[in-house]
Amino acid sequence: MAKKTSTDDPLAPVTLAVGQEELLLDRAVAQVVAAARAADSDTDVRDLTPDALQPGTLAELVSPSLFAERKVVVVRAAQDLSADTVKDVKAYLDAPAEEITLVLLHAGGAKGKGLLDAARKAGAREVACPKMTKPADRLAFVRAEFRTVGRSATPEACQSLVDAIGSDLRELASACAQLAADVDGTIDEAVVARYYTGRAEATGFEVADLAVTGRTAEALERLRWALAVGQPLPGITFALASGVRAIGKLATAPRGARPGDLARELGMPPWKIDRVRQQMRGWSGDGVAAALRAVAEADAAVKGAGADPAYALEKAVVTIARAARSRR
């Protein structure tokens, strides 16, 4: 959800929504507009893109109107404003008009940073709208969605919803709204499964993680999903190779080495070392050798040496999973 800082009043003279997540940006705008409408139902809303905002346009918009009506001026993609317009906006920031609420949407980043800094300095209310990159963030988002509409959902339901829909926040939000509207009572896994099935996203790294822990069936299933959603095949062999490689490296690393030294020597981040250590059980030296050779063959097949790349990948996954149990 949009996180609020400093003042919490949506009707602050200047609101700054920073980030690239379209849904959250839109929500920030909608919140301000709703608050303004609640205060005065005649509020005039002007939604402007950089090309609509010529030098001087802003001054025209924010000049006092005869009827003293409330106005919300939304400036989208403020990082792309031309230099002259930026000058206008900065001038306005120094002397904001009373009945005007200005909403600046900015992508963050280095482009147009001057405007961003100026708005912050002028004491704008800031709403963070960052892209959600971690799966845990998306899970939290779904949970919060249900909570806002006052519905309870089981953790499994949230998880399978995220699996089925993927990383597009807008789709996730509308799915949550849909479920909340259509279903009575607690939203559990069975309910989600009735509306949404499958898996929108599967990466080679997920396949590799399952394969190197010897879970053949799950790894194959995930591989099929990865192929179905169009993951590039060389990326999958790369992930498989790096999974097996990590195990080979760590298995022969000195036992008592400190995690920091180990991380540096093996070129892996410390959290990964812990994870690989878990995966390492059941692997033998010959297993690593066999698995790596299988991946190399699959890589050749994927790049045109084989008739059926999907089969080659499946074979490699099965070989890896078998090697992962070679010591048991």
């Binding site: 062999t237 298995a251 050749a300």
Partner: protein, 404 residues
């Protein structure tokens, strides 16, 4: 016969090329004097395919032949064979400035259709100096299939005075349809003694060092010279030859593979540093944004810059692959020596500097193991050729080497 001097241990080929050049000269002379062309069966033809192992001197042979075709030495009138090495024609061809000799070589992975079409167009022109227009394709094996097909017609029936000289490692490296349109000349691996001899004579290298590098490279003249003159190349080779002793456990295998690939990448980066920055700067200057003028790139030039960057990237891939390939060749040579020791043959071992390692590994395994290892090295080269991720391919190889 000076133009042939750089061609070592290839007497039969030289004899054939000299005869061809002589007939070609007779043809040109007759045409210049307005006489009937000689009726006797000519030993000259319009398309030649030079094959032979790397380092045997394919492109050297092609260039020497080109020089002989362009030779304007007055001795010819007195019955001397063309290819004196001193006249204008010979000299300019050998230094690469002759107007009618075009050498096509690429520093990228392949030669594409677009470049080839242009070449075909140029090949239909008449020679500027009235003798022969010679096109030397030093990397005919790098022609893509499409590019090869573009060449077909031009190679089959070139303009009357156009000669194609194609070079490739083996006859299988060019399309069958191209093959059948060329006269094939196979160069042999030059004898080790001859290579050592030429290193001493021409490059002034110490006889002892020359003998070592000639033996180590097994008749690859250019590599022998590089090894003899470049300290870094010797170091890299030594590192590669230490590799078979580092394959005791999985970690060692992975580390060795990483080392091989890293050093290849390093090499590519070094080449890139030498050339890329300069190239980029030149292009920027040509587009009107040289360093110092401090300006931004003019509108519409981003495409050209991107094209250059792409080309540089392809070149860097090629350098990396070549270096890796060289290392693998050294490795295969090492196991060849191991096999020679195991089988107790009289063949002298090539890598005398690592004799200890060779005997140790020979004692630890059987000839079958060694053969399998050689297979693994060759399989790795093939895998690299089919674009398998370099690190992965080399890792698979070191694993196979460890298993034996």
């Amino acid at each position: 016969m000076a133009v042939w001097d750089d061609l070592i241990g290839q007497q039969p080929v030289i004899a054939q090329l000299t005869a061809a050049a002589r007939d070609a000269d007779a043809l040109v002379t007759a045409a210049a004097e307005g006489a009937e062309p000689p009726r006797a069966a000519s030993k000259m033809t319009h398309a030649w395919l030079f094959t032979g192992p790397p380092g045997a001197g394919r492109s050297t042979a092609a260039r020497a032949f080109a020089a002989a075709l362009q030779c304007v030495s007055p001795d010819r009138a007195l019955g001397g064979a063309p290819g004196c090495g001193f006249c204008d024609g010979c000299h300019t061809t050998l230094v690469g400035t002759h107007a009618d000799v075009e050498v096509v070589a690429t520093d990228q992975l392949s030669i594409g259709v677009k470049d080839t079409r242009d070449l075909v167009r140029r090949s239909s022109m008449s020679p500027a100096n009235g003798r022969w227009q010679v096109i030397v394709m030093a990397d005919a094996d790098r022609l893509t299939e499409g590019a090869g097909n573009v060449l077909l017609k031009a190679v089959e029936e070139p303009a009357p005075r156009t000669v194609w000289l194609l070079c490739a490692p083996s006859i299988e490296d060019v399309l069958p349809t191209i093959r059948s349109r060329c006269r094939h000349l196979n160069l042999r691996t030059p004898p080790v003694d001859a290579v050592a001899d030429v290193l001493v004579r021409r490059d002034g290298i110490e006889p002892e060092l020359a003998a070592t590098v000639a033996r180590a490279t097994q008749g690859h003249i250019d590599r022998a010279r590089r090894l003899a003159t470049d300290e870094r190349a010797r170091e890299r080779r030594a590192a590669v030859l230490r590799l078979p002793l580092q394959l005791d456990d999985i970690g060692g295998c992975l580390k060795a593979a990483q080392m091989l690939v890293d050093s290849a990448t390093e090499d590519a980066k070094q080449v890139a540093e030498e050339v890329d920055a300069k190239e980029t700067e030149e292009l920027r200057a040509a587009l009107g944004a040289a360093a110092g003028t401090g300006g931004r790139m003019p509108r519409g030039t981003a495409g050209a810059m991107k094209e250059l960057a792409d080309r540089q990237k392809r070149r860097s891939t090629r350098t990396q692959r070549d270096t890796l390939d060289l290392a693998l060749t050294d490795l295969a040579g090492f196991y060849r020596d191991v096999l020679a020791v195991q089988l107790g043959t009289s063949t002298p071992i090539a890598n005398t500097e690592v004799r200890d390692a060779i005997t140790r590994i020979a004692a630890n395994g059987r000839p079958e193991n060694t053969l399998r290892r050689i297979e693994a090295v060759l399989a790795c080269r093939e895998a690299l050729d089919s674009n398998v991720a370099p690190l992965l391919a080399v890792e698979a190889m070191t694993m196979a080497l460890r298993a034996g």
